[in-house]
Amino acid sequence: MASVDAISNRPAAHRGLRGLSDRAIAWLFIAPTMILLLAINIFPLFWTIYLSFTNYASNRPNRPVVNVGLRWYRDILNSPEVWAAMQATAHFVFWTIVLQTVIGFGLAYLIDRKFRGHALWTTIILIPMMLSPAVVGNFWKFLYQPQIGLFNHVISFFTGIPASSFEMLGSVALAPWAIVIVDTWMWTPYVMLICLAGLRSIPDYIYEAAEVDRASKWRQFWSITLPMALPFIMLAVLFRGIENFKMFDMVTLLTGGGPGSTTELASITLKRQAFEAYRTGYSSAFAIILFVAVFGLANIYVKALNRVKQR
């Protein structure tokens, strides 16, 4: 502290010379983050772009690297396997978003009735989304076992369908829904939490004014509640959309992409090509296509979101 007291008696102009200038501090503070991101994110990204034009295979590092031009990009866009994966991904993303938005918003609306103990129950509901997706996928595999699993027995208890008559993970028809159910169980709380913030951002006086105008509760919901919470709902959809487009861990542990390739999402195909088939060039091209797709869709969506916010 002595040094601080000593400085304080000096004229202000000298202080800048003694310490670092604000400009120097700004760059000094930002540089480590930027260097790390350049080394771990940007350099690899450019490397991936480079690899996507070559025949490089990571299990044969000594083979001469040949430029193959746009061959992998053409192969990917013409590959039925890739389109099947994109279709599976689209099914997964669409239905998880629909279910999570409807259930999540419904729960948020009910929690916003502010019954006694709502804070405690909200925290309890949030637990699934904090867990490791891989560990969740692994123990849901146990719950889904047709003979010994809990899920089939609960379904059979309520519907009378014999518990061993269907396999959630083994059947082509049910497996895409099995992963949707687990993701919905895990991430509905996330949408709920964001929707709840949206509902709480609506000031009471708007409802009071609507009551004065004798607007019905139904009308209030459609004309006040929903439009005013919409930017929040859209934000939740954006985050869930990006996350589920990239989905890998939970589904890998749950189905491994099976049966056949019915639940083989884009990231799982990517992992197979890169780390099992060692088609490094091909998978790099696929990675770039996926990145451009997420980035492009997210940008378009953010523009729409901003338009809704401004209204």
Binding site: S8, T33, A39, A134, R200, F248, S267, S283, A287
Partner: protein
């Protein structure tokens, strides 16, 4: 809002019936969503035959076999061999001998759990340290192209992890970081720093500039003002950000399974590989899962006030 303060005649206050119905539905949902967790927790206390009984057993005699199997590896022995041994050492030894097996040694669960701790805390410390410096700079100084830089920092989160893992795998192989704790710490730091910068910028924006300016008029340099005024004020935000980084690193699977195989492997890729004789050892998986999830439950309760901000990268603040 406490009941005493709420205005009974307010048109906005839901009716008693509405509240009761809402409470019933929400509590029902909460209880149903807890069932899978309670089931895996209960499975940890079952014997292997009980865990795979048909129909599933809801009432069972608790057993320590799951936890014993989680921490040990066992070999099958003849009953003559087991009878020739001395009295069992501890409860796990006893449980194992009842299955005509003897404990061969410790399992890999503890080392994997310790790896998870080292990598999660190491990367969180780095990400928060780097993040708080950058966040302060973005919050207080005019930085050219600040919005573009911030968006760039965020966009690094949009890459599918597998897409990032391909070049990282090649790069780490070249520089000898494959399957090392340091490699995983650097990677998780890079992923978490984007979250840390965005969250901490929000927290630091909320600290009035006047505090530092007053300190600087009193003779503090900018750096002293940052360390002695801003950092203590941002302590809550730093703690919340740190917990979010910890949770990510603790839960992460994709990078861990692709980039580690042995000495640096964390718990998430290890837990699904716990197998007993003839298939998955579900009680051991249940036990391993329970122990792995307990820290997260504690964190969730600690974080509940900041959760919203954390999961939206600071886009929504209460």
């Amino acid at each position: 809002m406490s009941a005493a303060l709420s205005t009974a005649h307010s048109v906005v206050e839901p009716t008693v019936t509405a509240k009761r119905v809402a409470a019933a539905v929400v509590i029902l949902y909460a209880l149903i969503s807890l069932v899978p967790l309670l089931w895996i927790f209960a499975t940890g206390w079952k014997t292997p035959p009980d865990s795979i009984s048909y129909p599933p057993k809801i009432v069972f005699n608790p057993s320590l076999e799951g936890y014993c199997n989680l921490f040990t590896t066992r070999t099958r022995q003849t009953s003559e061999y087991i009878q020739a041994l001395g009295p069992p050492q501890g409860i796990c030894d006893k449980v194992t001998r009842q299955r005509e097996m003897v404990i061969a040694g410790p399992s890999n669960y503890m080392p994997r759990f310790v790896n998870s701790l080292i990598i999660a805390f190491g990367s969180t410390f780095l990400a928060v340290s780097l993040g708080v410096l950058s966040a302060y700079a973005f919050s207080r100084f005019k930085i050219p192209l600040a919005d573009d830089l911030l968006f760039f920092i965020l966009s690094t989160r949009m890459m599918p992890p597998i897409a990032v893992a391909i070049p990282i795998y090649l790069m780490y192989r070249e520089v000898g970081l494959s399957d090392t704790a340091l490699g995983m710490i650097l990677l998780y730091t890079a992923v978490n720093v984007s979250l840390a910068v965005w969250l901490l910028k929000g927290f630091i924006d909320e600290i009035p500039r006047e505090y530092e300016e007053a300190a600087m008029i009193d003779g503090y340099t900018r750096l002293q003002a940052f360390f002695k005024v801003v950092l203590p004020q941002a302590a809550t935000g730093i703690a919340a950000t740190g917990i979010f980084c910890l949770i990510f690193a603790w839960n992460e699977y994709a990078f861990a399974v692709l980039l580690t195989s042995g000495s640096a492997q964390t718990a998430p890729p290890f837990i699904p590989t716990i197998i007993g004789e003839g298939g998955m050892d579900w009680p051991a998986v249940g036990a391993g899962t329970t122990l792995f999830l307990i820290p997260i439950l504690v964190f969730t309760v600690l974080l509940r006030k900041h959760l919203l901000r954390g999961i939206t990268f600071g886009a929504v603040r209460k």
